[in-house]
């Protein structure tokens, strides 16, 4: 049976449409995906992301252990900083993408995808070897709320957490809010300024209601998974299961910028990833916009000169730009570049699209 977050009753009260997502009954929309999307870009939105996983890693070998798991150099972040990482397997394939927060020396919090939580936990246990670390999955203890949009900082201030205490972009703070110990990070999955707040299950409804209440004058709305998907697509953030999977490496997924290629420590998949960075890849992730009137969807085929060269991983509308956009993998052998024309096969007809820069809306917050 599907699991429910501790905010489920709030969603029902707000008349949300509920769907199954990664084994959870989650709100897909409250009013309209497009209205919700636009409201996050213009004002602010509140998301229930309690389905995401929280894994704590601590102990004297915590850093050394984490260094074996990611192509990223975890030693480069200081206390309270966040780092976007991927777990990679022996072939360089992505087991999951996640954010690693350094709370203090040898004390880390990993926020992972709901759909991969069990796999991630098993992966860490499998690779723990003789490292002196404690790996604690506390996903059943904590809920998580994302407050996103340009008005987020003002709303959080109104809710009792003043600006001067708020963490900077890609940082995390452990502090008191509504009389409760919480983790507040300045991260998100929308391309907007905003926060993600991790709080005990028992207190999440109170915080949800408080933020909606204090955010009212700023135009806050609860936002479902539908708009979460269109927001991240516009902001060019990958979705595990669509753009990322175990058969795809960070260089193929356009995540070379996240890899520390001079990292000294050995990590799982290093050989393949370094080789790909040096010699190039066979397939690569591209972003495109439709130039013909049609909508590309996950799984549609990509063509060039009447030959199949790839597949769409995510596609849909961009409510902000009012165009149809998407992502997909193509073979690199055709040397296609930005502005080149490709075709998408939609219901047995080819429609033109143009390869574009990856960030459709030119925002700079990267997160998960």
């Amino acid at each position: 049976m599907a699991k429910r977050t501790f905010l489920y009753d709030e969603h029902i009260k707000a008349k949300a449409k509920i769907v199954d997502f990664a084994g959870w009954e989650m709100p897909v929309q409250y009013t309209s995906i497009i209205d919700e999307h636009n409201n996050v870009r213009k004002n602010a939105g509140l998301f229930d992301v309690s389905h995401m996983g929280e894994i704590f890693v601590s102990g004297k070998d915590a850093l050394a252990f984490l260094q074996t798991l990611f192509p990223q150099d975890v030693s480069k972040i200081s206390d309270t900083m966040a780092l976007y990482c991927q777990f990679t397997n022996e072939n360089g394939g992505i087991v999951d993408d996640l954010i690693v927060y350094k709370l203090k020396d040898n004390d880390y919090l990993l926020v992972v995808n709901a759909s991969r939580l069990d796999v991630d936990y098993d992966w860490m246990m499998l690779n723990k070897q003789n490292f002196d670390v404690a790996i604690e999955n506390k996903s059943d203890v904590y809920s998580m709320i994302a407050l996103q949009g340009p008005k987020s900082a003002e709303i959080l201030e109104q809710a009792g957490y003043p600006r001067e205490k708020q963490p900077k972009t890609f940082h995390i703070t452990k502090d008191m809010l509504i009389g409760e110990n919480v983790y507040i990070s300045r991260t998100g999955y929308t391309g907007e300024d905003g926060f993600e707040i991790i709080i005990r299950n028992e207190k999440v409804s109170e915080l949800w209601q408080l933020l909606l209440d204090k955010g009212q004058t700023f135009g806050i709305m609860p936002i479902g998974l539908g708009a979460r998907d269109t927001l991240r697509l516009e902001a060019a953030m990958s979705l595990y299961g669509n753009e990322l999977n175990e058969e795809t490496t960070p260089p193929e997924a356009g995540l070379k910028w996240t890899v520390d290629k001079d990292k000294k420590e050995d990590y799982i998949g290093k050989k393949v990833i370094q080789q790909q960075i040096q010699n190039g890849v066979q397939k690569k992730l591209i972003a495109f916009k439709m130039t013909d009137r049609a909508i590309a969807r996950h799984g549609y085929e990509i063509y060039h000169n009447n030959k199949k060269i790839g597949v769409v991983t995510s596609g849909g509308i961009s409510p902000t730009l009012n165009i149809n956009i998407g992502f997909g993998y193509i073979k690199t052998e055709n040397n296609l570049k930005i502005n080149d024309t490709i075709q998408i096969m939609i219901r047995n007809k080819l429609y033109n699209a143009q390869i574009t820069e990856k960030n459709f809306i030119h925002k700079h917050n990267k997160g998960n």
Binding site: S32, I33, D229, I295, R297
Partner: protein, 126 residues
């Protein structure tokens, strides 16, 4: 909202009604509600002949594409051009005031035997 008395609905959520010798085919309010924001409608070419049950077009919401099935056999006499530029009208206008296509039906009486009244349709889906 007043619902036209002669509206008949299919299991795949299209409706059809006859007026002045032509049949008008549209999408039920339940289907529109389930789809959410409609962002694209792909229409057939005028003059195309379809059998009952055949796909005549596609309606796309933010989340997904759904195919449209002919509730009766017939050839397309007209399409609702307005929906090409403004698919969101489907969310904004009473469902039975906004048809998708107009067809000349060949065997209307025969074809509507498995369709149900709007009231029974609503009872089934809700």
């Amino acid at each position: 909202m007043t619902v036209k008395e002669n509206i008949l609905c299919s299991k795949s959520h299209e409706y059809v009604y006859e007026e002045n010798g032509s049949c008008y085919i549209g999408l039920t309010d339940y289907a529109i509600e389930q789809l959410g924001d409609i962002v694209f409608v792909e229409m057939p070419e005028i003059g195309t002949q379809y059998s009952k049950g055949e796909i005549f077009g596609t309606v796309e919401s933010v989340k997904a594409a759904s195919e449209l099935y002919m509730p009766v056999s017939g050839s397309v006499e007209a399409i609702n051009e307005e929906l090409i530029e403004k698919p969101e009208l489907l969310n904004e206008v009473d469902f039975n005031e906004i048809w998708l296509i107009k067809v000349s039906a060949e065997a209307f009486e025969q074809d509507i035997k498995d369709l149900v009244s709007y009231d029974s349709y609503k009872k089934e889906v809700e």
